[in-house]
Symmetry: C2
Subunit: 321 residues, 2 copies
């Protein structure tokens, strides 16, 4: 592996788990390792655990220390990317934590920190579904819905460094019902609770059997299983969510004239092309002007690796710029 003279490490830091990988010069993951985050032990303990994880993964990769040129971290929450500070991360209970500086001190290498969704979008842009486009929107569907923007080959952070929060855009300005956001209408959690509500209201569904009556078990795989079994209730709820996701993608593309939208997250992976097809139909029905129907709506290809690959590639981008 002597040709990997310029390798980067990426960490996808989540509220529960962290994933770490070493990326070779060819963009391949040379080694990977995961660990629990244990945010309740406090920031110092989490950072020590990250240090250990990074060191383990470098060792596992077989690369000499001096071939590792830097570390990229995708962290949940609001990040001041210029300073490498986690401004707020609710999941981790961190506020104004100088994560980049603290990790640089531990690891003796340059560290780049960005928001987890931005980092995932960067991964899909550089090495995944979005390769070859100059600009794109990444939409990741999970408990919430997050987004990231690439304009002309650069991550777009915006004036307050919070850009990309498509999940909080209003898709239903409603009269009496109040405003509802994309996340309210189409996140995996929203889909699960809509299915649960309908079942509670005595609508028949195969989901009841799959989860043996335990609605807390309605997650991506269960939803996908019921959807693939053509369970009418699940198909209706998921397709309605897909319609709203398609409209939200259309709103972003109508405003920004983008050539590509990458749809990712656990539900997308579980449902595959079926979901993206429904999103695309709604997108084409809504985008303006009509020539923007050319914009490609595509499923993410890096799956759970988008975060760590994107983090390593973003470190490379920022540190060699």
């Amino acid at each position: 592996m002597s040709h990997h003279h310029h390798a980067y490490v990426g960490v996808d830091l989540g509220g529960t788990n962290m994933q770490c990988g070493v990326l070779g010069a060819d963009g391949k993951v040379l080694a990977r390792e995961g660990a629990k985050t244990k945010a309740d032990e406090g920031a110092d303990a989490v950072i020590k655990r990250m240090r250990k994880l990074v060191e383990q993964v470098i060792e596992k990769s077989g690369l000499p220390q001096d071939h590792i040129k830097g570390l990229g971290v995708g962290a949940p929450g609001a990040i001041d990317v210029k300073k490498g500070v986690v401004v707020t991360a609710v999941n981790l209970r961190w506020n104004d934590l100088p994560l980049a500086k603290m990790l640089e001190k531990e690891l003796k290498m340059p560290v780049v920190v960005d928001n987890d969704v931005n980092v995932g979008t960067w991964g899909e842009y550089k090495a995944g579904a979005g390769r070859g486009y100059d600009s794109l929107l990444g939409v990741f569907i999970g408990t919430g819905i997050g987004g990231g923007l690439i304009f002309d080959g650069k991550l777009f952070h915006g004036h307050y460094l919070t850009a990309g929060e498509i999940g909080h855009t209003i898709m239903d300005a409603g009269g009496g019902l109040g405003k509802r956001t994309l996340e309210n209408l189409a996140s995996r959690s929203s889909i699960a609770s809509q299915i649960a509500s309908l079942i509670h209201a005595n609508h028949p569904s195969v989901v009841t059997e799959i989860v043996e009556g335990d609605m807390t078990r309605v997650r991506s795989k269960v939803i996908a299983q019921a959807y693939k079994a053509k369970d009418p209730l699940t198909v209706r709820v998921v397709n309605e969510a897909a319609r709203v996701i398609g409209y939200a993608a259309a709103n972003a593309v109508t405003l920004l004239s983008l050539p590509c939208v990458v749809i990712g997250g656990g539900l997308t992976e579980a449902l595959g092309k079926t979901l993206v097809y429904e999103v695309q139909n709604a997108f084409e029905d809504a985008v303006f002007p009509p020539e923007l129907k050319q914009c490609k709506i595509i499923a993410s290809t890096l799956g759970d690796d988008a975060g760590l690959i994107g983090a390593a590639l973003l470190a490379q981008e920022v540190l060699t710029a």
Copy 2:
């Protein structure tokens, strides 16, 4: 006026009228003149008329020809700004018209063409309400609703050069009612037709008297007059439109993390701060994360001059870049 060695001419080309002005080095309009567009006479006739108008205005300004460094044109429709081509302008019945080249031939000076709303946004950014912000969204409310985007001091055109079409974003994904766009819900035409419908359904309103029963006369001034007289029907319709405009502005700022939104167009000018106040309230109710409530929602200050001033300033920007 001998200090205006670097003056630019701007033309705001509309479907019915064109406005032209010479801008001095200090950004002041030195001379101005208007003419009918008469699009039905064909593109060549319109271009000859533009030439005449530009020459008249230069003469009126008293500046020698060699102090005029270029012409900027804001044209309605889809513009290929790189080529200076009007791709489609429905109002003018133009398709793939090389407007910049044709005007350069007539006027023997460099010509820059952009979309009328982009040009108005640029005017507000450089010389109007948006001065001092690095990025902003311009929203212009009229027959339709148009938008323009400035990121980091540059007009953003997007991959297909159509960026800014906020009027066509979906604000009501609706179930049975179908999707409704910002324009459907909140343009001046939509407000007028909502008022007319309510009056037809026998709701009392002072508007009936103002227009003497002729609903085609419900335009910005009439709406403003009724709104200021606290006509309950008009207040309800306008405030509901303002709410949706505020939500649309919030959606854009949530996605793009912008520090400023400039609201313009005839209705904004007629209603003044009252409308902007209602928009701001809805904006703050909807934008995410909460720190983005700092983003300023402000009324345009250039009024009808935004187009010609913006066109001249854009020519200056592009030709001296």
